[in-house]
Symmetry: C2
Subunit: 198 residues, 2 copies
Amino acid sequence: MNQTTDRQVAVFLAEGFETIEALTVADLLTRAGIPHTLVSITDDTRVTSSHGVEVVADGVIKDLDFSQYDMLVLPGGIPGTPNLEACPLLMQQVKAFAAGGKAVAAICAAPSILAHLGLLRGVRAACNPCVEKDLMAGGAVLVHEPAVLCENLITSRGMGTATPFGLAIVRYFLGEETAEKLRRKILYQDINSGDLHR
Amino acid sequence: MNQTTDRQVAVFLAEGFETIEALTVADLLTRAGIPHTLVSITDDTRVTSSHGVEVVADGVIKDLDFSQYDMLVLPGGIPGTPNLEACPLLMQQVKAFAAGGKAVAAICAAPSILAHLGLLRGVRAACNPCVEKDLMAGGAVLVHEPAVLCENLITSRGMGTATPFGLAIVRYFLGEETAEKLRRKILYQDINSGDLHR
């Protein structure tokens, strides 16, 4: 990886995480040269996704020095999302990151966690249709964009928006031009882009 | 998984495979209820992707009964693609599948393998720009679509077209309506779909 920034991202893996939502972020961060760590929320680095794919994380949460990180990423998936929410250390850090102006990103069902923590009041946010009621109950301004950044919170809708979600994270750290260059490099056709007019 | 067909797919993992290209296929096949196996091409089920993600395969190639399978999937990635091509048993089976009217699917750099085996003569095919010269030398009719089916061969362009690639495989087994329903379910916006007109 050709590192492009000193800022670091932690992507959390719980049993039942959505494979593509978690690993697309890691993939795009690697391509963009942004340091990142796949973190198991248990003491075991082996984690099985909601679709039965076993992945080996880079480390476990109890060993993580959160002060070295600039963004926490919460993938969706069932039961991955409730498993993340049932991790007290992670929930404490998500609140601390949001309160301290650091970034938190969540996709699919995981934005419901941010809503439950009271972090989405008045915040423009996207999520999977299955948790829209949670976001509305939490006072979010619901949007149906593939990915949205508002007040250091990046949210997205589901497995099929994992690439826009990852690109939004790249854009957060490295800017629009770099994210757009990466989008073209991986041959991702963005419905809102100039690709439409080819 | 709610199984929808008896037909089976083998997705091959070589050291240096592209994480998202391989696992998006597995993810969409699981969602569609199509039985599939992640197969390591070595004797070790642990395989590390081109971006350093370690995945545990369901089995290894020497134990695979190819007669039980209806499609072989070749993900891209470097050195994943040359590693696939350096596996004699896999190359023999790719040729046998193509000759026997069974399906082979390849994405990113991996369609170059099909070209080198002489399987793309007169075939409409897509690939990563980095191997377009290989496809042209192999007599393919190069197209720039995200995914294309021609003569039981499905080909696609890269990490950013992994979802259209996976959906093309679902369409091959279960038809257009099921694939389109799945596309909407995962919230994937297709540049060629009615999503444009919302």
